[in-house]
Amino acid sequence: MLAQVIASGILMGFIYALVAIGLTLTWGVMDIINFAHGEFLMLSMYSAFWMYTLFRTDPLLSLPLEALLIFVLGYVTYKIVIKRVADAPGLTALLATFGLSLVLRNLAQFLWTPNYRFLNQTLVTDKKLAFAGIVLGLPQVVASVGSVIMTLAVFYFVQRTRMGRAIQATALDKATAKLMGINTELVYGVTFGLSGACVGVAGALMSTFYPIHPESGALYSLLAFVIVALGGFGNIKGALQGGIIIGLAEALGGYFLGTQFKYAIVFLIYLLVIQLRPQGLFGW
């Protein structure tokens, strides 16, 4: 059973990591804490749900659409919400995204009712992988693998492409980045969009097994905050490692110490880390 617990923990960890990577991008590059991050995730899940319900499209196939949709949402949010408050005192940006999160959550409930929706007949529903006494649901395995692929894609993009380097430079030294000919406003928009694309993919993957509901994003977003602090702001590799740690902590802690403490353990780890190593375990 221990192997089963660890396996489930790691699978969830990869998914948590992808959500966290979206958050660490905006936090690390722009120093903006996007409180509406969980709601972006929720909207992606709803998109997958409606594509499935109205057009019979499997979430794994509509995934690129969700990624694009939330990318655009992120970009637009930057242009309309964040940019306006860029010069106001720091707290204003926080409040702006917090307000956005409330608006999105209530809008979702208003438009689509608070009923819990489940996708029951996707390509991966009810299938499982069983080996060596371990049973893994196919939806979670696919979601996990998908998350890893997206994580690697984002990492490659930031490290190896022109725009990726521009993002890094802007994060390090905005003024000098401008001297390189980098349009820093565009970089910020793209970063926010990329952050959205991450949860766009995560949402599509999770819709195959997680209840879809206006509050669906809240817990994952909270865990993302913990993972970002653990992994270091702006550190993608750190977010991946942090995600796995949290996934394992939740699974093992819950199994051995008591399921009601699952999240208490996660937050305890968070408190310890920020006390002892504020820049995160792998911080830069």
Binding site: N120, P211, P214, T259
Partner: protein, 433 residues
């Protein structure tokens, strides 16, 4: 001189108004409200309209709106008290208005909403709140302001153990339900040789879940002689991203029966995980919560079959009970689904408080409370037919039936005199469904 005169005048006006207006304070008797018969009587309804139980809260609101409709307009075709005439006959046809408030599944908000409804909206009674954890503080506020509170579906037995004077509750409490569960398992063992011995309790970490588990802890002592044993209890957080660990522990323990205290979102996740990990118990009995929500069948399809729970009503009884059927027709128009147990209990709370006001012939809270505590109320929509509150405020007539989902329908399976189908005392392997 003139200025001093003005000041003295203002001061005396102030002092006089303070003396005249002073009527608050929990030390005194509530001042009788002797207005000339009001046109509209306001009753507060505090429900989870947003947050994780919002899907249920919205349905409860529809049920209460149906009650309002039946009371305020003539419905001679429904055999219910207050249905025949428009408004409350003993108060010259005064209409009732249910004022809704959202507690967001947050006890603090439930408390402040109760205060707001009493002080600002001047309600003469309160109903609600579905979540026992919200009903608790809201009813304490009602007690402080001496306003009658009728809880519909909140099941924690602790609510009627507080020695409150102004609190009444319609649903059976989890103390009664737990005994009901054990008696049902005994019945399955005796009549069907089900061989159920080990029990696991899976419950959400809040007032509802924790208290349900405490009741199991209490009753198991009585039922140990019948061979029952609690082998595992799993408490899980109110918001979960997955139930992997929980179900892994349950699988490890291999219980014959599982008692579940869960809401619709978590319950659905559990069933899916049971299927994935191949957990096959003999019986799953659910306290009043997610299982009773019709969304359960919508979410799970045939995977929902074989689960059981106590319910104040089931759709298979609509054919046998006319009043219930007519109420359901009105409700279904609003909600799109059949009425279920908890929703019916909150409907009942709305009808009962209006009935009590009517029988008291007054909006004086003391008289309303008197009516609530002494009268027996007609409730032809319940199998018991009546509602009567005992000394602790608990409804003595909480006859529920044990229902089991068979082919997507909630069949009444026990007690035998109410049954619409035979119980199926074992789960098949998941692949075999």
């Amino acid at each position: 001189m003139k200025r001093r005169l003005v000041v003295i005048l203002l001061a005396s006006v102030l002092v006089l108004s303070l003396i005249a207006g002073c009527s608050g304070g929990s030390q005194q008797q509530a001042a009788p409200k002797e207005e000339p018969k009001p046109q509209t009587i306001k009753i507060g309804a505090i429900l989870p309209l947003t947050g994780s139980a919002a899907s249920t809260g919205v349905k409860l609101k529809y049920a209460i709106e149906v009650a309002q409709e039946i009371i305020n307009n003539p419905h001679p075709e429904i055999n219910l008290p207050l249905a025949k005439d428009a408004g409350l006959p003993n108060l010259k046809g005064a209409k009732v208005e249910f004022v809704f408030a959202d507690h967001q599944a947050n006890p603090e908000v439930a408390k402040s909403e109760a205060e707001r409804l009493i002080q600002n909206e001047k309600v003469v009674g309160l109903i609600g709140c579905y979540h026992s954890s919200a009903t608790k503080p809201a009813s304490q506020v009602a007690e402080r302001f001496q306003i009658p509170f009728v809880a519909g579906s909140s099941s924690s037995a602790a609510l009627t153990e507080r020695g409150l004077k102004w609190f009444t509750r319609i649903a059976p409490n989890d103390d009664m339900e737990t005994k009901f569960f054990f008696d049902y398992l005994k019945y399955l063992n005796e009549k069907f040789n089900a061989g159920i011995k080990t029990v696991a309790v899976v419950y959400i970490d809040n007032e509802y879940g924790v208290h349900a588990f405490q009741m199991v802890d209490k009753w198991i002592k009585e039922y140990e002689k019948d061979g029952f044993k609690v082998v595992l209890d799993v408490k899980y957080p109110t918001n979960v991203s997955n139930v992997d660990t929980e179900v892994q522990k349950i699988k490890q323990a291999k219980p014959d029966a599982i008692f579940h205290a869960s809401y619709i979102g978590d319950m659905t996740q559990f069933v899916k995980k049971y299927k994935e990990l191949g957990v096959v118990p003999k019986a799953v009995l659910c306290y009043c919560g997610g299982f009773q929500d019709p969304q359960f069948v919508v979410n799970l399809g045939k995977d929902a079959d074989y689960f059981s729970g106590s319910n104040a009503c089931t759709s298979t009884l609509f054919g046998k009970m006319d009043a219930l059927n007519k109420i359901n027709e009105l409700y279904k128009k609003k909600s799109g689904v059949d009425i279920d147990g908890p929703t019916l209990e909150d409907f009942a709370s709305a009808m009962v408080i209006a009935d009590a006001i009517n029988q008291a012939g007054s909006t004086d809270p003391n008289k309303i409370l008197d009516a609530l505590k002494t009268k027996t109320f007609d409730a032809p929509y319940f199998v018991s037919g009546k509602i009567k509150f005992g000394p602790t405020g608990q409804n003595d007539f909480s006859a529920s039936v044990m229902v089991q989902l068979q082919n997507g329908k909630y069949e009444a399976v026990w007690p035998e005199q109410f049954k619409t189908a035979d119980p199926k005392p074992a789960f098949p392997k998941w692949e075999a469904r």
